[in-house]
């Protein structure tokens, strides 16, 4: 399929951003393999019979709460002739009926009804040996932690706690601490780049202090601030942790050409953060294999779900949330700070734009096997935790795990 360059995790072949065969392997091994994919929030399906439709990789799935209130899920494609069964993104139903020939399934994707199974007036019907139990839909295991739902197609995926590892579980619980969540709204964008470019971006503190002029200008994220990158032992998951500074120039910011010292806001309410989590960190960006980014930037909280759409595009589905016990001022603050994020974000638009530029850059060169590779040497060659931002260690860790799962 591909020979990985000699530089190991310090080099990334362009081919993995464009090749349809590698993409097909990724869907099978990464998204539908031994991984817990983020699929939604408990508050989105609070009652028995509620369901939501989302994607794991590029595969549509239905996540359900059965009549006893237990979480379940199944592949959203009819066992008969493959029709996508659920077309609504959310709803409530005891039975899931395919629109084409009305085969019906329960909340676990078990086939319950087949119209005309015995034929009509002694004509037609299914063969004698037709057994509905042979046509249940691929089932998902669904689990919840702190109100966040994860699903897996595999029986071999270890429990979520083990899967996340201690450090990542601890930071996950920092945001999802048991308080009831409130969804503030959704935002969706289709980014014309390979899905891994999104993970690279969020695991890359080096760019954050250079590309994001807005963050740098207002001291929300800068190379001279106290910060860390931390990974789980496998390298699959990562944390980028940082502490807010002031809007000022220091010796270390000389390299940052883009710093706008004299940019002051006409309306400073846009950036009016208040401390709400224990500890000193003001930004924690967590990446959870294979499809989730948990964003805590000041008071704006969001889950960003990565849904690949072929090798050269992915949907980034944002769910902005707060807590049920937020007061009105906090909700307004979260809604204001959301200006920094998603498709029109003062910060995030830099990322979606630069991901497109990366895809545009690598596409025509991807088949030039000898030289077509990205370089990940900032901060050395290791993939261990670091106490600074000038490192690509978290991306190297990601690719260490990627190569194991993909056998590359």
């Amino acid at each position: 399929m591909l020979t990985w360059p000699e530089g190991g995790i310090t080099e990334v072949p362009y081919q993995i951003y464009t090749d349809p065969d590698i993409y097909a392997q990724e869907m099978a091994r990464i998204f539908c393999g031994d991984s817990w994919a983020y699929v939604g929030l408990e508050v989105e399906i609070p009652e028995p019979g509620d369901y939501l439709v989302t994607n794991i990789g590029d595969r549509s799935v239905v996540i359900t709460r059965d009549e006893q209130g237990a979480l379940s899920g199944f592949a959203n494609r009819c066992a008969h002739r493959g029709v996508k069964i659920c077309r609504h993104r959310k709803g409530s139903s005891r039975m899931f009926v395919c629109p084409y020939h009305q085969w019906s399934y329960n909340a676990h994707g078990e086939l319950r009804g087949v119209p005309f199974i015995r034929g009509v007036q002694q004509q037609g019907g299914m063969p004698e040996d037709f057994d509905r139990a042979d046509y249940n839909l691929p089932r998902l295991r669904v689990t919840s932690r702190g109100g966040v739902l994860f699903a897996t197609f595999s029986e071999a995926t270890p429990d979520l706690e083990t899967y996340l590892g201690d450090t990542n579980a601890t930071y996950f619980d920092r945001v999802f601490d048991g308080r009831a969540l409130t969804v503030l709204g959704y935002s969706r964008q289709l980014i014309p780049g390979n899905w891994k470019l999104m993970f690279e971006n969020i695991k890359d503190p080096y760019h954050a202090s250079l590309l994001h002029v807005f963050l740098v200008t207002f001291g929300l994220f800068r190379a001279d601030q106290k910060s860390q990158v931390r990974m789980d032992p496998s390298g699959a998951h990562g944390l980028l942790i940082s502490q807010r500074g002031a809007q000022k120039q220091s010796a270390d910011t000389q390299d940052i050409q883009s710093l706008k010292e004299n940019f002051t806001l006409h309306d400073p309410r846009l950036l009016d953060p208040v401390k709400e989590f224990p500890g000193d960190a003001t930004v924690v960006m967590q990446t959870i294999w294979p499809n989730l980014i948990v964003q805590q930037q000041s008071n704006t909280l969001a889950l960003r779900q990565i849904q690949p759409r072929g090798p050269e595009a992915f949907e980034l589905a944002w769910t902005f949330f707060g807590y049920a016990d937020d007061d009105e001022a906090m909700t307004t603050r979260r809604l204001r700070q959301a200006n920094l994020m998603s498709s029109a974000g003062l910060v995030s638009a830099d990322d979606s734009e630069v991901i497109k530029m990366a895809q545009d850059g690598v596409r025509p060169y991807a088949s030039d096997y000898s030289s077509a590779k990205g370089v990940l040497l900032m901060g050395g060659r290791g993939r261990e935790d670091e106490n600074h931002m000038v490192t690509e260690a978290a991306i190297r860790a990601f690719y260490a795990h990627y190569r194991v799962v993909m056998g590359l």
Partner: protein, 156 residues
Amino acid sequence: MNLELQWRVEELLARYAQVLDDGPLEAWPELFTEQCLYQIIPRDNFDAGLPLAIMRCESRGMLMDRVRSVQETIVFEPRYLRHHITNVRIGQVEGSRLEAVSHYSVIEVLPDSLPHILSVGRYLDVLEDRDGVLRFLEKRVVYDSVLVPNSIIYPL
């Protein structure tokens, strides 16, 4: 029916499109009142009563901050936009305050691609008529095209 008012609202919307598509972008905040609310809201949030907007400016100052960010801080590919605003209907008129609804679509042209629709939806506007000048007190851009093609840099 007040034809003159209809004409003035359409003129404001045409000016709105002009400053965004052809500039100067600095003129865009001037079309709003000092205290105002501008929001770009995905239609599914709007229909579900969810408050999240992808762009939210709560004063003319915040609109000016957005303009300056587009000009100085956001890194993006160059592009042309073209607004088309139709089906303009004036709703309730109360003293100096009036409501107007219209449909819009915005076509985007990126350097190496054919034109495509960036956004389609409706404008839900509240206008103030003061000293012979119409301005936006509130503008909600509710977009049907909920899956955004990459980024929205300029206001819609």
